[in-house]
């Protein structure tokens, strides 16, 4: 077994409402996931999309972020209870921003095969459009479920929008 091995990777040739990574092998110790993406939303605020595990759309997620957005810093938490907040935000460049820029986010998901403990993760993400919007986030998150993670879904930035073409991702396993 390699120490670090790509499990899945790809580049979107056209816009997609989601990226689903299924049948994740249970042969690694930790997962690392990186997404470089742009969302088809027009907004002056940083975009984000949602992450779910094993197709679970229940109110089983929570997290907290530290962030800087164009010189303003702060901390914000995410509810465990609201279905619409069953996500861990990550920055996306948006469709009306400077051309060519994508947001990039990296996740570390340790001990993902455990069936004894709820899952924790660590994330950093950033987007700087070289024009007016500069965002950096770091945060932790939790999935209140003891199931092994076999599927990761990245969902559309908001209803009816897409993760745009040329967005790229890779999922790797650490021994």
């Amino acid at each position: 077994m390699a120490d670090f091995e790509i499990i899945a990777e790809g580049t979107l040739s056209s816009g997609a409402s989601s990226i689903s990574l299924t049948s994740i092998p249970q042969t690694y110790t930790h997962l690392e996931f990186q997404l470089s993406a742009r969302g088809s939303v027009a907004s002056s605020s940083t975009g984000s999309s949602n992450m779910r595990f094993n197709g679970d759309s229940g109110s089983n997620y929570g997290g907290v972020d530290g962030y800087v957005t164009s010189g303003t810093g702060g901390v914000e938490g995410y509810s465990l209870n609201a279905l619409t907040q069953t996500y861990y935000t990550h920055p996306l460049a948006l469709d009306n921003w400077a051309a060519n820029i994508q947001g990039v986010t990296s996740w570390i998901i340790p001990n993902y095969t455990s069936t004894s403990f709820a899952k924790q993760l660590y994330r950093t993400g950033t987007v700087a459009d070289t024009n007016s919007i500069y965002t950096l986030r770091f945060g932790s998150g939790g999935w209140d479920n003891t199931a092994a993670i076999t599927q990761i879904d990245i969902l559309e930035p908001s209803a009816g929008t897409e993760i745009m073409a040329q967005s790229s991702y890779w999922l790797a396993g650490w021994a």
């Binding site: 790509i6 947001g103 700087a128 965002t135 950096l136 770091f138």
Partner: protein, 220 residues
């Protein structure tokens, strides 16, 4: 030779199944591998991993390192500066892509802490990645950073990067996170690491045992 052929459910050294386009499980003898490779039935898909590309070791005589002709077969790049030290004083650690020093093509946001102080800044400039400068003097002091450069080989889009950095400098500890974007749609083929921050060239030299190591991740 009897028994030396591919796709058997048995062999002298273990069970076999026919190879697929992505897998060849079981135990294979060299002849059998060669037979399948020749027949075009050996799996051609190779899983990506993290692969060493190149490394520079500083020796105190230069403050500028360039990774050139970067292979375009990977999905992301990762640069690690380990045990970073400098000779003399200077400016920040800078990073430029494809010899482009046009400040309007780069943007950054960073947050950092130094001893008990914290700050966050943002702006447009040629890429500078330092939240705190490399230390000098005390033998035990050094800085490290990791920079991920995502989707670098995609010529249709710009490039976004993340940096994680930390240093111990004679009690003046510092750490930080940073993102910076390069808005020119182009594949990254050259990366320059200097010691003049926003400016070209070198204002100090990197000292031993500083290492700059470039890795490729995944396969496009």
């Amino acid at each position: 030779m009897t028994g030396i052929s591919a796709g058997k459910t048995w062999s002298r050294i273990g069970a076999e199944v026919a190879p697929t386009s992505s897998d060849a499980s079981g135990v294979w003898q060299m002849q059998e591998v060669a037979e399948n490779v020749g027949a075009g039935t050996w799996p051609t898909h190779v899983k990506g991993t993290m692969e060493y590309i190149a490394q520079y070791a500083a020796d105190g005589t230069t403050g500028l390192f360039s990774f050139t002709s970067i292979p375009q077969k990977y999905r992301s790049l990762r640069i690690v500066m380990s045990q970073g030290k400098r000779v003399g004083s200077g400016s920040s650690i800078g990073m430029w892509f494809n010899s482009d020093s046009t400040s309007g093509n780069y943007g950054y946001a960073k947050m950092y802490g130094s001893t008990t102080n914290s700050a966050y800044t943002y702006g447009r400039s040629a890429g500078t990645i330092s939240m705190g400068d490399c230390p000098t003097g005390n033998a035990a002091d050094s800085q490290m950073w990791i920079c991920d450069i995502a989707n670098y080989s995609n010529a249709s889009v710009g490039t976004m990067c993340q940096v994680w950095q930390g240093a111990n400098q004679q009690g003046g500890y510092n750490t930080g996170l940073m993102g910076f974007g390069y808005s020119v749609a182009s594949a990254i083929t050259d990366i320059e690491i200097n010691s003049a921050g926003y400016n070209p060239g070198a204002l100090y030299n990197y000292d031993t045992p500083t290492l700059f190591t470039l890795f490729g991740i995944g396969l496009v």
